[in-house]
């Protein structure tokens, strides 16, 4: 079953094209990783899929609903998804209350909210921070709270914009494990952007390569990571791999 089906999505900022004719399909339970250089349009595409922005033209079906032509059903669809932004913001309350917010918005009973929130905080390794003011957390801790806040809703589709970019390798590994487990156990559909090609290889069921607002390649990792030698994708992937090797050495 298709969870996301986008056809010919176009988005512009004034006259500047941000996304050009993006068409993609994400199957239920798939882990779709979007890679591409900075400014390629990954966040723009994710925001459209998260119903935070509208495309100028194109069709978008999420969970079987034509979300562009059915604005009255957008809230229902948004409640079946969750989106972790690149620079997440913590609300001015405790960590536990932060994680409880999406459940309160869904009118989940109080006792269940507390149980689920504490459980998810434990999964991301933040259980000891439950009573602490979320505004006092470091960037990495805030990121983990944001991921817990999204996971607590048990979304059918989870959108993540570079969720491990602010984390140290140990925390990033833990988050990857949580995401992989969620995808496996709950059949959650993941759509995630990343700069980390190794991470993309580890998590992806499907990889999409965005370059200059165009989806230039889309397929399983073994296909995408073995491009033709003279293609722009090969240059990007080759550069990124070399960069990561260099970072590992230093």
């Amino acid at each position: 079953m298709l969870h996301i089906e986008a056809r010919n999505l176009v988005r512009r900022a004034g006259q500047v094209p941000l996304l050009q004719d993006i068409s993609l399909q994400v199957e239920s339970g798939d882990s779709f990783l979007l890679i591409g250089p900075t400014g390629a349009g990954k966040t723009t595409l994710l925001r459209i899929l998260g119903l935070l922005d509208k495309p100028v033209t194109g069709d978008l079906h999420i969970l079987g609903v034509d979300v562009i032509r059915s604005p009255d059903r957008q809230l229902e669809i948004r409640r079946r998804m969750a989106f972790v932004q690149q620079k997440p913001v913590a609300f001015s309350c405790s960590v536990l209350e932060n994680v409880a917010y999406p459940l309160r918005w869904r009118k989940v009973p109080k006792q269940e909210i507390k149980t689920r929130a504490l459980d998810i905080l434990e999964q991301v390794g933040m259980q000891d921070f439950a009573g602490r003011s979320a505004r006092t957390l470091s960037g990495g801790e805030t990121q983990r709270v944001a991921i817990a806040r999204a996971l607590v809703t048990r979304p059918e589709i989870l959108l993540l914009d570079e969720p491990t970019a602010n984390l140290d390798p140990n925390s990033a590994g833990k988050i990857e494990d949580v995401l992989a487990r969620v995808a496996r156990e709950r059949q959650t559909t993941l759509v995630m952007t990343t700069h980390d090609l190794a991470q993309a290889r580890r998590l992806a069921g499907t990889v999409g390569v965005l370059m200059a607002g165009k989806l230039v390649e889309c397929g399983p990792p073994e296909q995408v990571f073995n491009p033709q030698a003279d293609s722009p994708i090969a240059r990007f992937i080759g550069f990124k791999l070399a960069e990561q090797d260099f970072n590992r050495m230093v």
């Binding site: 935070l52 948004r78 932004q85 609300f91 001015s92 917010y101 918005w105 006092t136």
Partner: protein, 234 residues
Amino acid sequence: MSELWQGILRALELLVTFDPEVMAVTFRSLGISVTACTISALVCLPLGSLIHFTSFKGKHLLVSIIQTFYSLPTVLVGLLVFILFSRAGPFGDLGLMFTPTLMVIGQALLVIPLMLGLIISALASLDKTVADTAFSLGASRFQAGILALKEARYAVVTAVIMGFGRAISEVGLAMMVGGNIRGFTRILTTAISLETSKGDIELSLALGFILLIISLVINVVLGRLQQVRSSAAH
């Protein structure tokens, strides 16, 4: 100078002995302004959120118009309310002229543009990610609005207090639509105006002190809120 000193002593005497006339005027003044301010807040909080979260043509123009009304002269609002509610006006049949109810309505009309503009500014200064995060986690527009108001609570409370300050300190409107009737519509500012013109400096000073005390309390509350906010952020 001695007259001023005597005035201050007399004012303190009126205050510490809880002079019935002074207390009555004070509580009436507080009652009218708190009611006007509460009504204004009930209008401005949802309306401010709605304007902030809705995209529509002419939004910037509307916000500019609201901001222009920040400095609306109180006598002009008084004149408008007078015309509307005088016997010959469209609402003359309600018989509200020279009543505390009309003073509340007038003060609310005076306060609403200021409070509304400041609430819109407070929400606009909030990180856009807050609203985006709320929407992306399944909040409705109403729920996102409540969250945004909570996140901007310091600036929102400041807007409400500024509105209260404008209401309790205005004199022109209260004089025009309240009539300064003793024991009925006389409030702190109209009483000061009247007693000064009569030469009763002591009573005017006592009432002036009370206004100052109210302002002081407002500032202390505001300062306390600021401390709470900054301590919560660290």
